[in-house]
Amino acid sequence: MTVLRLGLWSLRLSPRGVATAAGMIVVGVAVSLVALSTGEFTVPIPDIVASVFGQGTPAAELIVGRLRAPRVVTGLLVGAAFGLSGAILQSLTRNPLGSPDFLGFTAGASTGGIIAVVTGGTAWQIAGGSLLGCVASAVLVYALAFRNGVQSYRLILVGIGVGAVLVSVDWYLLTRANIHDAASAGTWITGSLSGRGWEHAVPVACALVALLPVCALVSRPLRMMEMGDEAAKAAGIGVEKVRATAIIVGVLLCGVATAAAGPVIFVALAAPQLARRLSRSPGVTMASSALMGAVLLVTADLAAQRVFAPVQLPVGIMTAALGGTYLVFMLRKERR
């Protein structure tokens, strides 16, 4: 176990954790390259590298730069954002079920987005709507669960309840909307990366750049708080300040990610747990959760495009199938 320190930031590295992270990066790069090079037109990998540096053929520029790259990059960023959001909220609630899917935040974001879609909003309005919906649902869940402080169990139960109502509101809006709005909202609501351009990737990238340092700052206090508020206070941590910061960051990440790709379920739930089990760390860790989220989403998107071709499945179906199967496998292995 080695520790890297730089001012306020410190990073503890376990050999297995580093190896896992490196492995995930390799897998992520490999899958991204496959996603970039294959499809209806195969673009050889040297051409991809060339077009990244602006030296490629016009066809490669168009296919890779305009069509495939935005999709892959959006997938990577959205996956990382969901993974981080899940890690923060699970650590905060001290519960693997405390992910934005279960706390109703993803549902809030999708309701906000659906309202924007149904009222004929532009891409920016849809993004704003889902961010607003996410924040509003978080405030609502927190307020409803608050009673002499917030118990993680009550928070999750209230989140499940609020989420159920919001999902129903989504379906109701879909049945009420006219057929064109309903069709576009219908693909968005299962979570889809198809047709994503740079305008979807850039906001997520900005949010990640802005929020990653904050994540790094709260990661250690959050781990202390998993031992209980009293112990964390005794260790000199401003518990309330850290909790408020972490909630805001988790909610913003979830909202931004949902705005870009729709409510892709299960990434935020599964990625931190998968990363934790793979790196055998005692609690959820931020960096590996983000990496795992990115790898999970890009792989799922590739599978959703190719496995049942020419039928294109929404990526949400694949994340559920892939992440769910892997989580089941992990639970089984752990039991032995």
Partner: protein, 359 residues
């Protein structure tokens, strides 16, 4: 998860286990609970009549009674006998089945989050139905219900096997995690199978979000025996489950076969979830919310909890179904949607108001 939520309160224990002479408080309680149960049945009967009368074609209650007792073949009477009655009966059966299945699962797994939908059992059943309809072209409800049973049993066994953590017994978090994971996988598989064939997808997508629309009298008749068998078996488990609530060793000492009780309860859950899902799609929330609500005033005694759940769950489901038909008339909002809109605020209120009632 909060282990404090699973501890029974001590004074309750003392009054229950007092041999022979019961304190007077308890008889008063029995009377009150019996009266409450009868009132629940009254509300249910009223809702059944309203459910038959209300719809895109509104029928006065007197005509409803005429149609049931002396049908004359008029349009109103045909609508009632061919459409409304099967739908209402199915709602009755499905509601009772889901509520009872939820209560049984909560008691068996001692997990306050246990619910036929949340633990993946309904999604397993739905996958069975999807495979039968989408891949094997089976359309007889009496045949595809067996696929639903197989799916429900498979997912129940898998979830329980994955969720029980070796020697330390079943942990609520692992169980819920395994259930959610498997449920997602099954739901994804169902959606994928349905999407492969556009015609089936169009026919079944409402069913996949939970809907009581479109059951023919035939489906109701074919599925009724399974629902009734599941309900009877489930209700018979009240005593043994009470004994097991004290722990496996204490339960054994009180004469309840631990393995037999678990197995029979699992069979009942499979029957209930499989038949309910085959009829109305993978609904959730009724099985989670109603037992919680009931436990708030009956306490953890299964002999009260289970009958109350059986009576009040269809009340919630039928009320949701009626509301769905009234709000969006002349169309309708699927019962799955209405159920969570009505059930969820109640559930939030309960989660907020009390410490999670003891299991």
């Amino acid at each position: 998860m909060n282990p404090a939520g699973v501890v029974e309160t001590a004074p309750e224990q003392g009054s229950e286990s007092g041999p022979g002479k019961a304190p007077p408080r308890r008889t008063g309680r029995t009377v009150a609970l019996t009266a409450g149960l009868l009132a629940g049945v009254g509300v249910l009967v009223l809702l059944v009549l309203v459910s038959i009368a209300v719809g895109s074609r509104s029928v006065p209650l007197s005509t409803v009674l005429d149609a049931l007792t002396a049908p004359d073949g008029s349009t109103d009477h045909t609508v009632i006998r061919e459409l409304r009655v099967p739908r209402t009966l199915l709602g009755l059966g499905v509601g009772a089945a889901l509520g009872l299945a939820g209560a049984l699962m909560q008691s068996l797994t001692r997990n306050p989050l246990a619910d036929p939908g949340l633990l993946g059992v309904n999604y397993g059943a739905a996958l069975g139905v999807t495979v039968a309809l989408g891949l094997l072209d089976v359309s007889d409800p009496a045949v595809y219900v067996w696929f639903a049973f197989a799916g429900a049993a498979l997912s129940a066994v898998l979830v329980y096997a994955l969720g029980s953590a070796g020697r330390s017994g079943t942990s609520p978090v692992r169980l819920a995690l395994a259930g959610v994971a498997l449920g997602m996988v099954f739901h994804a598989a169902s959606s994928a199978i349905l999407r492969l064939d556009t015609a089936t997808f169009d026919r079944m997508r409402f069913w996949l979000t939970g809907s009581l629309a479109g059951p023919t009298p035939e489906i109701a008749v074919r599925l009724a025996p399974f629902l009734v068998a599941g309900l009877a078996l489930g209700l018979m488990m009240a005593g043994p489950l009470n004994a097991l609530a004290l722990g496996d060793d204490a339960g054994r000492a009180l004469g309840a076969g631990v393995g037999r009780t678990r197995a029979l309860t699992a069979v009942a859950v499979t029957l209930l979830c499989g038949a309910a899902t085959a009829a109305a799609g993978p609904l959730w929330f009724v099985g989670l919310a109603v037992p919680h609500a009931v436990r708030a005033f009956t306490g953890p005694d299964q002999r009260w909890l289970l009958p109350y759940t059986v009576v009040l769950s269809p009340v919630v489901l039928l009320a949701s179904d009626i509301a769905g038909r009234v709000i969006a008339a002349p169309g309708e909002v699927q019962v799955g949607i209405m159920c969570s809109v009505i059930g969820a605020p109640l559930f939030i209120l309960l989660a907020r108001r009390r410490r999670l009632a003891a299991l």
